[in-house]
Symmetry: C2
Subunit: 356 residues, 2 copies
């Protein structure tokens, strides 16, 4: 039976990416070698890295606008550390918006480096909304935010207008919607949602942002080192970068972000309409802040849980359990999830209403 | 034509590992899902992580001896940083042996943390040998060495007897030879030689070693955090860990380190015998320090280069060019390289002698 994978990440990737990645493990680009055994310094892999870096910028509309793209290791959690190391001045200050577990993790790492101002937090309400009224200190070295909060099902629709650099963790919604990405000075995203498998992190950095802290930065954490070495400071995660390239190529062939955004809006509308219409369910996030990537919802009556769980599992749905801190259900509808999968889930919700 | 892959890393892995990894990308363990799209919190992947951690300790003979095994991200270069962060006390001191480019990289990162004593270095001789007469300061917090030097073709055959903790970068010879691994307090190794594809690093840590520095450690760099979270502090590099497990399983089925060591000795003997016998070649490393993983050698007469390069390329050999800092040739003979590949290379060397 076909699986409908709503996993929050690692998550579904395009089927053609699975096919191509699987084939490349046996014979990469007719080299007679596996993608797993080629040197990262081979001309074949250098071409992969360069195309992936260029295509990431192209899809974000940043080609020729003075940005560098890197494929690093360590997940977004490593960037929680690299960001203050590279951007917070000695005796400096940074501003953070606290919209969930990951934003909070970024704040924790920053605090060791200097004054870390939390401009607003929705923690007291279990992060069910995105704070909107806040002031960013004009003397902060940067403002950090998280564009989409996987666990809580919220997403930022507006970003502040400010003169200080904006840093954004876009791990769970990069390449899913149109934004003016040139408003951001540093964007990072773990690959394992819309871009590829777990094991690499895209970092996009505007020229002129670095080398202003007066701080000594360890080489492996120094963005400038990675830029100078063209994302090959040390052995990169070859397979994760290659599979990310395949996914970016798939997105480009589909028509890029504007094309996938229409799919994502259709999927989210279908599911949220059912959550709102069906009297057996309720959403957990504030409506105006609902994420188009991760829809979080609860049963009105917990007594229906076994029945509903059987319905969606029998329909081939997987990965629907909510994070333990929210409970209920979380339907992650990343780029590669087909509309058909959401239709199957909605059908199960309607079936519950009919028989419960 | 069959390829004989002598690449220095990423490098050849067992053919059955390629087959299994390729298949798992289409359908992992009959879940109907790709290994690339399953949650790292799924019971299927948690089982992979736990088996990989346990099997790494088992193969090293460390089961039940108070060690933790972690699969982290960032390559050995990230451990160059994690080691002093976690082990060098505030106002403390560390001792390093400088045997090559990577040892030197580790020393650079350590220097930012405190007094870093280089107990000996063979840099003045382009790292062609392993220094043996040196004293380790008894008040150092740890002694750091690199067991095998990929670029220079040298390998440590003896490790110092000392009362201070020994930290060893075994990236390029772990799982290749029998050692009393319980003499080491911390071992780390990038996977991309004998353990798996690029993208994960094995770190083995003795209990009681950590939490003695008085230093504040960023969460993502804190070994204790990774131990407490069972190597799942954040999303691990799922595919790289899975493929490492496949490689470790292959090694266990083969008979473990003692079995592979015999193969490795036979391969190294065959090649070094030819380097020494054939008047057209000469080795670059001191004989007593020759690496059984990476054999570095030169042509006596550079005029033979085109002829020899054609011979080995026509025989299907790849990845034989030496590192730019040594020149000539480097034959990397990692665990998965069959003896047959070395025979093909030796045949090309003999053919050169016949026709040159």
């Amino acid at each position: 039976m076909k699986k409908h994978n709503f996993s929050a990440g690692p998550c579904i990737l395009p089927q053609e990416v699975f096919q191509k990645a699987s084939a490349a493990i046996l014979n990469f680009n007719d080299t007679g070698l596996s993608i797993l055994e080629i040197s990262h310094r081979s001309k074949e892999f250098v071409a992969v890295m360069e195309e992936a870096r260029a295509l990431a910028l192209e899809l974000l509309g940043l080609t020729g606008k003075g940005y560098h793209a890197l494929f690093l290791q360590g997940g977004a959690s490593m960037e929680f550390l690299r960001v203050p190391y590279n951007l917070m001045k000695v005796d400096g200050k940074a501003a953070y918006l606290d919209t969930g577990t990951w934003a909070s993790g970024a704040i924790k790492e920053a605090k060791a480096f200097g004054e870390t101002v939390v401009v607003a937090s929705s923690k007291a309400d279990n992060y069910t909304y995105i704070p909107k009224a806040f002031e960013i200190p004009t003397d902060a070295n940067y403002f950090h935010c998280t564009s989409n909060n996987t666990i809580y099902g919220t997403q930022m629709n507006q970003f502040p207008e400010t003169n200080i650099p904006i840093v954004c963790d876009m791990s769970s919604d990069i390449f899913s919607r149109s934004l003016d990405f040139s408003k951001f000075d540093l964007i990072y995203a773990g690959a394992q949602k819309n871009m590829g498998p777990a094991g690499t992190t895209l970092v996009v950095i505007k020229e002129g942002l670095l080398n202003q802290t007066g701080r000594s930065i360890p080489n492996i954490l120094n963005y400038q080192q990675h830029i100078d070495k063209e994302s090959m400071y040390n052995t990169p995660p070859v397979f994760a970068v290659y599979t990310s390239l395949l996914t970016l190529q798939w997105l480009k062939n589909l028509g890029g972000i504007t094309a996938i955004e229409k799919n994502n809006e259709a999927k989210a509308a279908l599911l949220y309409n059912e959550v709102d219409r069906n009297p057996l369910f309720k959403g957990t996030a504030a409506k105006e802040d609902r994420s188009k990537m991760n829809a979080t919802f609860l049963l009105e009556n917990e007594a229906h849980k076994t029945l509903f769980d059987n319905l969606w599992k029998e329909a081939g749905v997987s990965g629907l359990n909510g994070h333990r801190s929210v409970g209920g259900y979380r339907a992650s509808m990343y780029n590669a999830l087909p509309l058909e999968s959401v239709e199957v889930l909605v059908k199960a919700m309607r079936e519950l209403e009919r028989i419960a």
